[in-house]
């Protein structure tokens, strides 16, 4: 069996790691724009109900010393935040009426 990517308590979220564990905002935003609403909704529906539990789990670690599997879980939550806008507000991946405008996060803290 492959090495688990997430803490054992969150093994049900493993299938989402490959596509939705992303390192930076530009990658997450590109994923949002290249996904269908069905894909985004499915990710949201899977992760949102586990989010509060995930936060409580992650709170056990100092932020600057997260084990790798915990950091992956945190990255899923970063993606969840960005995908909440299409799901909760826009009902489409992109922000309406924004034309070709670009606005990218160039510097962001790690983790």
């Amino acid at each position: 069996m492959a090495e688990p990517l997430l803490p054992p308590e969150f093994s049900d979220l493993e299938p989402w790691v490959a596509d939705w564990c992303l390192d930076s905002e530009p990658e997450r935003y590109a994923k949002r724009l290249s996904s269908t609403m069905d894909e985004i909704q499915a990710f949201y529906d899977a992760v949102f109900p586990r989010a509060e539990e995930a936060i409580q789990y992650l709170e056990k670690f100092p932020l600057d010393d997260l084990p790798e599997d915990a950091f992956r879980l945190l990255k899923l939550l970063y993606s969840l935040i960005l995908m909440s806008f299409p799901v909760e507000i826009w009902k489409q991946p992109y922000i309406p009426d924004t034309g070709t405008a670009q606005f990218e996060l160039k510097i962001e803290p790690v983790p």
């Binding site: 670690f61 932020l63 970063y78 935040i81 309406p96 924004t98 034309g99 990218e104 996060l105």
Partner: protein, 433 residues
């Protein structure tokens, strides 16, 4: 006498205006007439702004935390002045700025891979990629390859060209004038220099940038009035809150100007204080949203830092300080701040920068609240970006040439006025020689 705009009684009670009846008439030099935006669609006017404003005013180019160590540097592209700067912390810990140009043949001195791209790093000296001329961190030229081949050359005469550089509260400002007419402190004036905020504690930084097709003032104006959010951004709120906004609009609690600078204070985003139905599910989960965390950071105490909430308003939520010409600092009640920079590139184009600064998160929960806060900035800013490109197109048609500004657009009227004053002043001095 012009009739003052009528304000609903509840809003008048909650957000009282000066004795003159409106903020605009409290400063009679602003007038109340519709304004022209010819200054935002004319290439000729932009050419004047370059000289009259951007080569005379103090411009913020960054913060000292970007130069933590001796030898720390960053480059700053200033398209508006057709130059690039090197900003560097010297071995003597002093921060200096230089034009990023080699004295030998004019090559751009510090860059990597792409000559138009900004870079940062740490170094002991700057060496030109072209012929190896080398400069110390204080700008002195210290090496000329095959020096004996040159004619009567003295390295002492070939230091980097300095730019006036001063620091206020960790914000690094430059001034491109030969001799600035004011020190930085004089330029900032009493309203801005009264601010004594613990900036040094907010080191968790997020930095956005965008290339936008609109005039810098047209764009800036959307970020200095709170009249548009209930409409342009209203649908980002749950339906119940949208209805409330559309009915009541939004009122700024206090406006103030000091020289070319201005501030507007509002009740802020009211994060978490309203009924749950006013928030999206993610906002409720993360206790954050428009904009930023709902829970106070460690810098928040019973007393606001000096200089904030200059109108001494109850239910204070934020101050939006607009520092002329193109720099804004927005302070939020939960203890974090945003800066905006609007860098003109052409009469119809700007580089927009937004920086969010938080205290370093003490836990994953705080980290996520900050993350949602900065995510909302993008959702809102992109709506502004799209709309302001459309506004630029509308203005350029010249189908309409004057535009009415309401009292809530007080700060837009002031910027328009100040830009005109600086350009007039420049032209007058040019004529006088």
């Amino acid at each position: 006498m012009t009739e003052s705009p009528k304000v609903p009684r509840q809003a008048a009670r909650q957000h009282p205006k000066p004795p003159e009846g409106t903020w605009t008439e409290h400063y009679p030099e602003l007038g109340t007439a519709p304004v022209s935006y010819e200054n935002s669609i004319s290439p000729e006017f932009f050419a004047l702004e370059r000289e009259a404003i951007f080569k005379r005013a103090w411009l913020n180019v960054g913060r000292v935390e970007q130069l933590r160590r001796k030898g720390g540097f960053f480059t700053k592209e200033l398209a508006v002045a057709k130059t690039s700067l090197i900003v560097v912390r010297g071995m003597d810990d002093r921060i200096r700025a230089f034009h990023n140009v080699c004295r030998h043949r004019g090559n751009k001195l510090v860059w990597t891979d792409h000559p138009a791209r900004e870079i940062s790093g740490t170094c002991r000296q700057f060496a030109c990629k072209y012929h190896g001329w080398t400069y110390e961190l204080d700008g002195r030229c210290s090496f000329i390859l095959q020096e004996g081949e040159f004619f009567g050359i003295d390295k002492a005469d070939y230091g980097l060209v300095p730019v006036h550089c001063e620091v206020w509260k960790g914000f690094i400002f430059v001034n491109l004038a030969q001799e600035p007419s004011q020190t930085l402190s004089e330029f900032l004036g009493p309203m801005i220099t009264a601010i004594d905020y613990p900036f040094e504690k907010l080191t968790q930084r997020y930095y956005y940038r965008g290339d936008i097709r609109s005039n810098w003032k047209v764009f800036l104006d959307a970020f200095q009035e709170f009249y548009h959010p209930p409409i342009l951004h209203g649908h980002q709120n749950p339906v119940m809150r949208q209805a409330d906004y559309k009915e009541k609009g939004f009122y700024t609690s206090h406006f103030q100007i000091d020289g070319p600078h201005r501030v507007g204070s509002t009740t802020g985003g009211a994060g978490g204080k309203l009924v749950p139905e006013f928030y999206n599910p993610m906002e409720q989960l993360m206790r954050s949203g428009l904009f930023g965390p709902w829970d106070p950071s460690e810098i928040v105490t019973d007393e606001l830092p000096p200089g904030l909430n200059p109108g001494k308003k109850k239910n204070w939520g934020l101050d939006s300080f607009q520092i002329f010409p193109n720099f804004a600092i927005v302070f939020w009640e939960t203890g974090w701040y945003l800066t905006y920079h609007y860098w003109p590139v052409a009469h119809d184009r700007l580089l927009f920068e937004a920086n969010a600064y938080f205290t370093p998160p003490r836990s994953v929960r705080e980290r996520l609240a900050q993350q949602l806060g900065i995510a909302t900035i993008k959702e809102y800013a992109l709506e502004d970006c799209g709309t302001l490109e459309a506004t630029q197109m509308g203005l350029e048609s010249r189908a309409v040439t004057t535009f009415p500004l309401g009292d809530q657009e007080f700060m837009c009227r002031h910027l328009n006025k100040v830009v005109g004053t600086w350009v007039d002043d420049y032209q007058r001095k040019q004529k006088e020689g």
